[in-house]
Subunit: 410 residues, 2 copies
């Protein structure tokens, strides 16, 4: 069996029209008009292929292939059709479209398996509405109810509007997990979103661990004042506290926890004028590690570091945990299956960690999960310039096909 | 002669109603409805006092007291009735209202002098529309035409709207200086906006130098990327460049140019998301010194430092000069007059520099200028909590009165 490469390309061309941007990417935040249009198109493809379209109470779309006995557990594949604002064409879409080719191939081959197969397009993987992984978290019953209620209660809540527009509600989303059928395993094909495979010239990556992460929203509070009258040595400049923290936190992670990550991607200075000393600096803190122990240590160490800087500089520090996902180790059993699939086709492969989070990480709460990566040229991700080589894309889809068939027939 | 303290307080109470905020301050950005209302009230006071109301082509309002021969040069006093957004009640207003009491007292005393007197309320001292000191710069013919044209050409230009609403135009403003009569000297009474007089318990400050300043709008450009996939050691994180610069620039100024100031009051990170490495960090850079030499050196040194940091971190640095005022040294002749006024009344006084910019600094291009400060309790400025002690306020106004009379009669 092979996937139909012509069809695969044609599907991409069709899908890329939804939310297409002038810069060459797509803009399909979850439940936006472009995203909903992409999902309608996806549903048509499912139905035209003679697969069974399903939608759960969290708005996750799926294509069900009843190739096994009724009531048998399902083997799941999939990813997501939503994108970050002004994102790329392949992040998420690759796993969904490859999954569609895979189901078509298995269906056409008339394979009878001991399990059924189901391809998912999970809702809001990118977290446009209320934290990452809304759909897969709903599916696995791991949603944070407080976070959702907070997002719904916010003035002009985008979540409330989007849910209403899609016919969903907090109640339906929180109840989605109860409907889910038993899952045998989950496989996700995705672009790497980093430079390793491209640098090494290897077409396939087999993920051994998906990093865990913490999102904190933090604040240094000092005292505003006139930029021309308050001497430097008596200032309590909140931005200088943030600057100090940014440099020292980066050094700390780089030297003490090599291979882990820390990023300050967002900052707001108050009151925010040329001639006013910053009285407050709010900022995001994202840190990641493949080790649960390091992740927990980092949370303590980074808060302590911020507290120490605050004390030295006459500031106050506060932080609030916004999101948390734990590292997931891919079971050896699944990795062996993926390695066999690569060997059989003669594709070089590399074991690597996923620094980005994925639905697969969330699905791990419900079933063994594994991931296949293909190279991201220059490591570009979450940007219109994100690309893939068609050759790699077809290799990845064929590995997904073979691995699924191997897993299913065991 | 003394100013009428009861009247002075009543005037403040009346003026504070215009743009009054719930936090106890005023919100009177230049040419806003609240500012225009305050100016109408001021005009009524001028006319009721039997002074001559005048408005120049830059919208500067003034009260003319013809106490000297026709065509004689004028001695100017004044400040501004506009405030920063959500500012305090005394910054600017103090100099205008004290000036009004001073003119009333001289008029009532029937003083005949060799000069005429004129009290100014300059337009947009706080730079809400197009850089600081629009009115005093227009008056002295030191406007930056490019800056104004840029501000007018901006989409939804607040300047264009405000000028239109006040019956002004670029042409009228640029022509205002040509109308100005010869000026003998300019005196400005102002709150200190810093903590020195309050800390020292001295009611009057005599400014010996007004600091010069530079406003630069700067940018570090790096490369955006995924916060979970790009290793720390290969990142080109624009925000870390800014953090490094903020700390090193502060240390540089504090250690090499003690007494000068540097402030980063505004920053914007792009694209600005939890999980995206900052690809660009734009920020404001405000630095000040009482020495023209230091100011020029700082411009070079800070740009060099930023360039060095950019080179080390794989970033690019760019900057644009947005505003510049040069330091002004108060002529000894004027300081001696002010000292004599203090001595005559038995008021303790302190020589000090003004770190903030003032209309007096701009007027220095046209005439000798001097400034009198009164204490700002706790140094609070540009905030609703800004305050003064009534006792200090009356002392300041009386020194203005006496100094003006001394200067005029010389």
């Amino acid at each position: 069996m092979r996937i139909d490469e012509k069809r695969f390309r044609a599907d991409f061309e069709a899908l890329n029209q939804f939310g297409k941007t002038s810069e060459g990417g797509v803009n399909r935040p979850a439940l936006s008009l472009a995203h909903l249009a992409a999902r309608r198109w996806f549903r048509e493809q499912i139905e035209q292929a003679g697969l069974q379209f399903q939608m759960d109470a969290a708005g996750n779309h799926s294509a069900f292939l009843a190739c096994g006995p009724e009531g048998a557990p399902s083997l799941l594949i999939g990813s997501h059709l939503d994108s970050v604002p002004n994102g790329g064409r392949f992040d998420g879409a690759l796993g969904v479209l490859a999954g569609l080719q895979v189901l078509r191939s298995i269906q056409q081959a008339g394979l009878r398996l001991p399990v059924n197969l189901e391809l998912f397009d999970f809702t809001d993987e990118e977290g446009s509405l209320a934290g990452d992984f809304l759909g897969s978290r709903a599916f696995t019953g791991t949603l944070d109810r407080d976070l959702l209620e907070g997002a719904l209660a916010a003035p002009e809540s985008t979540l409330a509007k989007a849910l209403g527009g899609a016919g969903l509600s907090l109640k339906s989303i929180l109840g989605a997990a109860a409907e889910a059928l038993p899952v045998e395993a989950f496989l996700e094909l995705h672009v790497e979103q980093g430079p390793i495979l491209d640098d090494e010239g290897v077409p396939v990556g087999l993920v051994d661990v998906i990093s865990g992460k913490r999102y904190l929203w933090c604040s240094f509070q000092g005292e505003a004042g006139h930029a021309g009258t308050v001497p430097l040595e008596i200032r309590r400049d909140a931005f200088l506290g943030l600057a100090d923290f940014a440099l020292r936190a980066t050094r700390h992670v780089a030297t003490r926890h090599y291979g882990s990550f820390v990023t300050i991607g967002k900052a707001r200075i108050h009151p925010g004028a040329f001639s006013i000393i910053p009285g407050r600096a709010d900022f995001s803190l994202d840190f990641r590690s493949r080790s649960p122990k390091t992740l927990a240590a980092l949370e303590t160490e980074l808060r302590d570091l911020a507290g120490e800087i605050a004390a030295t500089r006459g500031l106050r520090f506060a932080s609030r945990l916004m999101d948390a996902t734990d590292p997931v180790i891919v079971p050896e059993r699944l990795r062996i299956v993926l390695e066999r699939a690569c060997s059989a086709r003669g594709y070089a492969h590399l074991d690597l960690a996923s620094g980005a989070g994925h639905d697969a990480q969330i699905l791990a709460a419900a079933a063994p999960t594994a991931m296949i990566f293909i190279p991201s040229p220059d490591g570009i991700s979450h940007a219109p310039e994100e690309s893939v080589r068609w050759d790699d894309l077809e290799k990845g889809a064929n590995i997904l096909l073979d691995a699924l068939a191997l897993l299913a027939s065991k």
